[in-house]
């Protein structure tokens, strides 16, 4: 498995300095060449992206699609180290960035890549772009962090949920417990006040995201809009992507011609939401 991953990353690197595809950017991430589809949501904390991907995930499941969901910073292998670094406030921007890349690569090698090869729709709540935005906001070099993730493909769809920082702050501060140290960007020393620090840090992240819209072909969704409207836009784009895509057969469903009735049956049993 390892050999294959690297063979592909070698191609990516060969392309780093290739003349860009007309948009003025070098190609950092190669197009997804696997059988499966890769759909990603991005945006700052409180942008509503997790709500939207959750709705999308359930919608695709209810249609009997094979879907795999992966969340940022969720590798079991890296968990205890992340915990330690956060508890001890031991991270520097570089080690934070490298450890999150380690976390991502573990999920890539063990889950995302095999699922994509199998023909599954992989959905990721945050992807390399989170690192490109957040780590750069913390002060690491743009090209350096792009190289770290150059083994990963460009997703088929990237939804960027854009919200003004004030709305995100309101959502975060009313809905949850106290802002955490790194979440608020306290390590940057922007302000002693967590909320002020969060605001300044998130604004920097928004600036990085905004600058990536063309570079990585983001579908920008207005995160301040009504939830249903956002989901409608998301589903329209996903439908377009999945047109003509057969995916992998679902062993829990009977043969194609009786698929519709089988789906109805599953729905009647409460298998969707």
């Amino acid at each position: 498995m390892g050999g294959l991953i690297y063979a592909e990353s070698a191609i990516i690197n060969a392309n780093l300095h290739r003349p860009p595809g007309g948009k003025g950017f070098a190609i950092v991430l190669q197009p997804n060449s696997y059988r499966g589809k890769l759909i990603v949501v991005e945006g700052i904390d409180g942008s509503g992206k997790s709500t939207q991907i959750d709705l999308l995930y359930k919608w695709l499941l209810s249609q009997g699609k094979a879907v795999y969901f992966s969340e940022w910073n969720s590798s079991e292998l890296v968990k205890s180290t992340t915990r330690l670094g956060k508890d001890e406030k031991a991270f520097t921007p570089t080690t934070f960035s490298l450890l999150q890349a380690t976390d991502f690569s573990d999920r890539w090698e063990n889950h995302i890549l095999p699922m994509l090869k199998a023909g599954v729709i992989v959905m990721a709540d945050r992807y390399a772009f989170t690192a490109f935005a957040r780590d750069v906001a913390r002060g690491v070099d743009r090209d350096w962090v792009r190289n770290l993730y150059s083994f990963a493909p460009q997703p088929d769809l990237v939804f960027y949920f854009r919200v003004p920082v004030n709305i995100a702050v309101d959502r975060i501060t009313t809905g949850r417990a106290k802002l955490k140290y790194y979440e608020a960007g306290m390590d940057l020393g922007l302000s002693d006040n967590r909320i002020t620090s969060f605001r300044l840090f998130q604004q920097r992240i928004i600036n990085e995201y905004d600058a990536m819209v063309d570079e990585f072909n983001f579908e920008v969704v207005d995160g301040a809009d009504v939830v249903q409207n956002q989901q409608k836009r998301v589903r329209t784009a996903v439908k377009r992507l999945l047109r003509g895509y057969e995916g992998m057969p679902n062993p829990n469903l009977p043969a194609r011609r009786s698929r519709r009735s089988a789906l109805k049956q599953i729905a009647a049993q409460g298998g969707e939401s």
Binding site: M1, G2, G3, I5, Y6, A7, S9, A10, I12, N13, L77, V78, S80, T81, L84, G85, E88, A90, F91, T92, P93, T94, T95, L98, L99, A101, T102, S105, D106, W108, E109, N110, R138, G139, V140, D141, D143, W144, N147, L148, S150, F151
Partner: protein, 229 residues
């Protein structure tokens, strides 16, 4: 060292002006005798009145336990291992090596990122990708490449700690048994180190000799280096 020089952009968020210490790296294959030499050099340097600090792979307090666990399991992929080691390296560089150099210490480093790159490339990593990961790395004052052929390494292993899974590259199963896999794996690493000699300006030290002879050689080289202003 004084003015820090990096392989890439270093740490853009951290201005480091002056590093009066010296960063001395010992590189080379498993079993070549690096740690023996470092212990002897440390004693000699301290006798001479230098403040010495030593470091080596996997000694970061941040990643030590996690990386150890990962290596004991069976889900650690090559790419993940590579980035985990890079995290270990960055943590030690920022939190141990640079502060020691700032305080004027001689830092003896048992391996540097060259070893990690050699291992990554042997495992199929793209060589340019792996090099760029270490764009934050400081250029050492000198790297001594302790070079021994595979039969010498085998002899050292037999009379030392024996053969082990990782040092034999059994994760990529270079052969169906530890001994053969060790020979194949170490000879591939040797090729990588040899290829890096010019690129990174290693000083090659013949490590097929006795520990005392190697030490005399290293000491003479270091004396010259330390005599420089």
């Amino acid at each position: 060292m004084t003015e820090p020089v990096y392989y890439g952009v270093g740490f853009p968020y951290r201005i480091i002006q002056d590093l009066p210490g010296k960063l001395i790296v010992l590189e080379g294959n498993d079993g070549v005798g690096r740690s023996t030499q470092i212990a002897m050099l440390r004693k000699w340097l301290e006798d001479e009145g230098y403040a010495v600090s030593d470091t080596g792979l996997r000694r970061s307090t941040l990643t030590q336990a996690g990386l150890e666990n990962a290596k004991n399991g069976h889900t650690l992929g090559s790419l993940t291992m590579s980035l985990f080691y890079a995290t270990d390296f960055a943590d030690r560089l920022e939190n141990q090596i640079i502060p020691a150099l700032k305080a004027g210490f001689i830092v003896l480093s048992d391996r540097y990122f060259y070893s990690t790159i050699a291992r990554d490339v042997v495992r199929g990593a793209d060589p340019q990708w792996a090099r760029k990961v270490y764009g934050f790395a400081l250029k050492p004052d000198v790297t001594y490449y302790l070079r021994a052929d595979v039969p010498t390494l085998v002899a050292r292993m037999v009379h030392g700690r024996g053969f082990n899974y990782w040092e034999a590259g059994m994760d990529i199963r270079c052969a169906d048994n530890l001994y053969d896999s060790f020979c194949v794996y170490q000879s591939r690493l040797l090729q990588e180190f040899d290829a890096m000699t010019i690129e990174y300006g290693f000083e090659t030290v013949d490590a097929c000799r006795s520990a005392m002879d190697i030490f005399d050689d290293l000491r003479a080289r270091l004396r010259k280096l330390l005599a420089r202003p």
